[in-house]
């Protein structure tokens, strides 16, 4: 479509609708010729085109702000608050902790960290088994007590439970056969 160069309302509206695409170079070569031909002869549309170009230039160079100085500190605190919702590995937790040590603000906390590491080392030392090669095995008496307690409970059968009565009878039979065998 070829626009006339004199002020024609419908031509003006068509060109004005294309100004945004014209500025972004999104028109075909033919459309560019049409728009530029119209702008040459229409002072009103030419002004609108210049003003729109200036608006776009202004937006492109809009002032850039930055976040506050404590943005990252606040962000880390916020992230720590939501961290439990996301499972972290032990290795990652240690890595994060080591990363925090790199921050300058942590330098002042080194004595406290050293003390806490010492306490942890002592706890590990005292909690470790006395003979590392031989794991400690529980004494038989440690198992015998709960077993006899359970037997005593089932033997008492305070609620006359038939199942418990059967268990009690079976236990008595087993005891008597064991006694007979030892004799």
């Amino acid at each position: 479509m070829k626009f006339s160069t004199h002020d024609n309302e419908s031509d003006c509206l068509t060109v004005q609708a294309r100004l945004s695409d014209y500025i972004d170079s999104n028109l075909s070569a033919r459309q560019v010729l049409d728009v530029e031909g119209h702008l040459t002869g229409c002072a009103h549309c030419a002004t609108l085109a210049r003003q729109m170009q200036s608006t776009v230039d202004l937006l492109h160079s809009a002032q850039q702000r930055d976040t506050s100085d404590d943005f990252m500190a606040k962000f880390h605190a916020r992230l720590d608050g939501v961290e439990p919702t996301r499972s972290r590995g032990v290795l990652q937790a240690m890595r994060d902790w080591l990363n925090t040590l790199r921050e300058p603000m942590m330098i002042g906390r080194i004595p406290a960290l050293g003390l806490s590491m010492g306490v942890v080392a002592l706890l590990i030392f005292f909690a470790a088994p006395t003979q590392p090669g031989h794991p400690q095995v529980a004494a038989p008496s440690q198992f015998a007590a709960p077993l006899s307690y359970n037997v005593a409970l089932t033997a008492s059968n305070p609620f006359d439970d038939p199942a418990a009565a059967n268990l009690e009878a079976a236990s008595a039979r087993k005891d008597s056969s064991l006694t007979a065998e030892t004799e």
Partner: protein, 198 residues
């Protein structure tokens, strides 16, 4: 274009590390994008405190869902999508109090600007860019735009996103993005006309 590709490659490496629970890698992502996201959100909500809060929330949400991020979208687009959704939520929640907030923030700005409320007829973009007044007029004109138009013009003209990326973020067809961009620019031009000259 080469620089953009390099950035995307670096982003991909950071994303992979962040997806493997590397918090240092995610920190790097935050440092890389916080200013862009903050600027966008600030121009959407026009409140420094809320903008910073929403920027942090954007990155917290990104952190929590980084594992589900797929590289078919760029990190930039993904972060702006989260930020846009948060701004929409904010706008809905604060619609009733928005008028009061705007008038209060405007009041403080007007106090500074009353001394220089004279339009500059001789337009020189480079010089006017340094003009604080024009910057505040632009912010005011952006503030007056409907949210849908503001989103598109900020993402396209300020943040430099492509039409298809904006269509993805705004959840609308490409043609709608273009028409919103045109309407937004035309509206801004009309509001700034006295400062832009003939």
């Amino acid at each position: 274009m080469v620089a953009l590709g390099a950035t995307m490659q670096a982003d991909t490496a950071l994303i992979q590390r962040a997806q493997a629970n590397d918090r240092a890698a995610f920190n790097e992502i935050v440092l890389r994008y916080k200013a862009k996201v903050y600027n966008y959100i600030f121009r959407m909500v026009h409140n420094v405190v809320e903008a910073e809060d929403l920027t942090q929330e954007t990155f917290v949400r990104a952190y929590l869902s980084i594992r589900s991020f797929q590289s078919r979208a760029s990190l930039n687009t993904w972060l702006f999508r989260i930020a846009t959704n948060l701004c929409i939520d904010y706008s809905r929640k604060h619609k009733k109090t928005q008028g009061l907030t705007t008038s209060l923030s405007q009041e403080s700005e007007d106090e500074e600007e009353t001394q220089r409320d004279i339009p500059d007829v001789a337009f020189d973009p480079q010089r006017l860019l340094l003009n604080k007044e024009l910057g505040s007029r632009l912010d005011q004109a952006l503030r007056d735009l409907p949210e849908k138009l503001r989103t598109v013009v900020l993402l396209y003209d300020v943040e430099g996103l492509a039409y298809d990326e904006i269509a993805d973020i705004a959840g609308c067809p490409l043609g709608t993005v273009k028409s919103r961009l045109f309407n937004a620019r035309a509206s801004l031009r009309d509001k700034l006309a006295s400062y832009l000259g003939a």
